[in-house]
């Protein structure tokens, strides 16, 4: 095990220990039902976090995630109410959010501006468009929609894997394949490792940057679909602050905030840790929900600190190779 993998293993240990502690207190948490619910309840976060993983791996950040999720929900609700077939609406919205991400990526690359300010503008823009479409919470009501909702797979010992849980797992698996088994994935890591070196080694910087933010846009759209399925409604104020939750999940999942190191699988565990904290608070019944934020923030701090220490140690060990002749 190298220091590079340490954050991921730390995440895994935190998750297992946390789960064990929870289970010791509430044996019911060991059931597959709880596990399946854990995935279903955090599916939108998990899907968006896959996209955010790629963005952060490349050394960037995407603050527009929450707004794009809300936009997707509102767009689906409004167009379905206006008579568009849900499947067509879903395809259409995914194209829109992908294009939206691509435009942000192009701005980041060609204007040579920090990602945070470009995606900040994107965040305002997407949320503004939501508000323009509607400020009400609009229920989504359509036979096709109900059919989508009823899709689920039984799993042994009583749990049910819903469609949205399936989407999250699929998104994670696709993310893993994309990150580790494709040339694009290597380019993403290369970009986050050292932009100049990557360019010298022939990585197509412009194309990769645009593709990364397009992917994040697409997955935010998919997360929006999941969220809309989960709530069966579109609401322009939905998913505020989700970009922070996704960033936290990615970092807790062991991805270096400066880019270049991390895994999609780790992000999955990071999402699950956040979900576990929430589930524990619900099981406990006496703790209030704000503890989730504090616990997540605390974990975020610990992991950022861990990253600093590891980077520092790596720097020192490199120092040591300089000969003292």
């Amino acid at each position: 095990m190298t220091s590079r993998n340490l954050p991921f293993f730390a995440t895994l240990v935190v998750f297992v220990v946390a789960w064990a502690l929870c289970a010791a207190q509430f044996p019911a948490m060991l059931s597959t039902r709880v596990a399946a619910n854990l995935i279903t309840d955090n599916a939108y976060l998990g899907v968006a976090a896959v996209g955010m993983t790629f963005v952060i791996l490349s050394g960037g950040i995407d603050l527009s995630v929450g707004s794009v999720i809300a936009f997707t929900g509102v767009f689906l609700a409004v167009t379905v109410r206006a008579g568009l077939d849900p499947i067509a609406a879903i395809l259409l919205v995914l194209v829109i959010t992908t294009a939206f991400g691509a435009v942000m990526g192009a701005m980041i690359h060609y204007l040579e501006t920090p990602a945070f300010i470009v995606t900040l503008a994107g965040m305002f823009f997407a949320r503004g468009v939501c508000f323009l479409m509607t400020t009400d919470s609009i229920p989504i009501d359509h036979p096709t929609w109900d059919a989508l909702l009823s899709v689920s797979w039984k799993i042994p010992t009583g749990g049910r894997l819903t469609l949205i849980a399936g989407i999250m797992i699929a998104a994670t698996l696709v993310g893993i394949v994309l990150a580790h088994l494709t040339r694009f994935g290597t380019y993403v890591y290369a970009l986050g490792g050292n932009r100049t070196s990557a360019e010298l080694m022939g990585v197509p910087i412009a194309r990769t940057t645009i593709a990364i933010y397009a992917l994040s846009g697409a997955l935010s759209g998919l997360a929006g679909l999941v969220f809309a399925l989960y709530t069966s409604a579109g609401y322009s104020l939905a998913a505020t602050g989700v970009e922070l939750d996704t960033i936290a999940a990615v970092v807790i999942g062991g991805t270096l905030l400066t880019g270049g190191v991390g895994t999609v699988a780790g992000t999955f565990v990071g999402v699950m840790i956040q979900g576990l904290i929430q589930t524990y608070i619900i099981f406990d019944g006496t703790l209030s929900s704000w503890w989730t934020k504090i616990a997540v923030g605390g974990l975020l701090f610990v992991f950022i600190l861990l990253q600093r220490v590891l980077v520092h140690l790596a720097g020192r060990s490199r120092d040591r190779l300089v000969p003292a002749t």
């Binding site: 950040i61 701005m107 060609y110 204007l111 040579e112 501006t113 920090p114 945070f116 300010i117 470009v118 900040l120 503008a121 994107g122 965040m123 305002f124 823009f125 949320r127 503004g128 468009v129 939501c130 508000f131 323009l132 400020t135 322009s236 505020t240 602050g241 922070l244 939750d245 960033i247 936290a248 905030l257 400066t258 209030s288 929900s289 704000w290 503890w291 989730t292 934020k293 504090i294 997540v296 923030g297 605390g298 975020l300 701090f301 950022i304 600190l305 600093r308």
Partner: protein, 330 residues
């Protein structure tokens, strides 16, 4: 006020004032009564006063944010710090503490939050956007911890007066923003703090090699940002006579950053002007009010802000710089 201000006000500040004038003019065109003022009970009323009053919290946040951005940093936590300090103030008001105690506690908490951010940035050397993200995530939870998850309301006369009263005919928040702005401008320009901040923002290594105590200056800068967030938080709490941990100061960090950027301070650090950041805050609020007055849905605001950011980015981008340089040469 500063050695470099006169020179910059005459030329460099032109775009900011021109933008403000244009926005105000647009408001006047769609709403001819825009500049009308009337005096009632020793207090001015009118759309312009409304712009000033509503713009005050963002203007106050922009004060601290200007300094942070000048050091090549950013403080994403100011909205959350507003919520925390608002929660502290409201909870204490509900328990009937004296106004002095309430203000002292809120400011102390704000300073502490700033110190935390400064510690992460200056001592642990974490990138500012990430360091302040931690408090941004945790802050609203902490605020709810303070209010124990309730929306606290109060009837504390003293605290209500912070946003509700007036002085010199102007609403109190406007007076606070002005006084704070002048005080901060004096603090950074009458001492050497401003120079040291700019120096660190332009070249931290060279500044440190010249003997500048970069760590302390960064700590002070983030602490000032925490303090201004605390003031904005108290005003917000006073305005709604309560504390709403979920919504107080929501997205205001972004408005504050936008105000600073509109005010001409570069996101890459260096030269800053507190006065122009205040102008930037006014521009943003005047746009908000204008959209409201012209009958468009207020929601259009966000889109307009996005377009403004995009426009500034395009104008400031190195690519545009090269293009202008090319056009000038050919």
């Amino acid at each position: 006020m500063t050695s470099t201000l006169p020179g910059r006000l005459s030329f460099g500040a032109l775009p900011q004032f021109a933008t403000l004038a244009a926005v105000l003019l647009a408001n006047w065109l769609v709403f001819p009564d825009f500049f009308d003022l009337r005096l009632q009970d020793g207090r001015l009323f009118g759309s312009v006063i409304d712009v000033l009053n509503r713009g005050a919290p963002v203007a106050i946040l922009a004060l601290g944010m200007t300094l942070v951005i000048a050091t090549k940093g950013v403080d994403l936590s100011v909205g959350a710090v507003m919520a925390i300090c608002g929660a502290v103030a409201a909870t204490m008001a509900a328990a009937d503490y004296s106004l002095v105690a309430i203000l002292a506690a809120a400011l102390a908490v704000g300073a502490l939050c700033g110190l935390w951010n400064g510690f992460l940035v200056a001592v642990l050397d974490i990138q500012p956007i990430i360091a302040t993200l931690i408090l941004m995530v945790t802050g609203r939870g902490i605020a709810q911890l303070v209010t124990e998850g309730q929306i606290v309301t109060f009837t504390h006369e003293g605290l209500i007066a912070v946003a509700g009263s007036s002085a010199l005919g102007l609403p109190m928040p406007v007076v606070i923003a002005l006084v704070l702005g002048l005080a901060l401008a004096a603090l950074v320009r009458l001492t050497a703090l401003g120079l040291l901040i700019e120096s660190i923002g332009v070249n931290r290594t060279a500044s440190t090699y010249a003997g500048v105590d970069s760590r302390s200056v960064l700590l002070a800068t983030y602490m000032i940002s925490g303090l201004t967030a605390a003031v904005a938080g108290v005003i917000a709490a006073s305005d709604i006579r309560g504390a709403d941990a979920n919504n107080a100061g929501l997205w205001l960090e972004l408005d504050a950053i936008l105000a600073v950027v509109v005010g001409g301070t570069s996101l890459f650090g260096g030269r800053f002007s507190i006065l122009l950041s205040l102008v930037g805050a006014l521009v943003i609020q005047a746009m908000n009010t204008g959209i409201l007055l012209s009958g468009y849905p207020p929601e259009l605001n966000l889109i307009v802000k996005a377009v403004v950011i995009a426009a500034i980015l395009v104008l400031q981008s190195p690519a545009a710089g090269r293009l202008f340089g090319f056009l000038r040469r050919s």
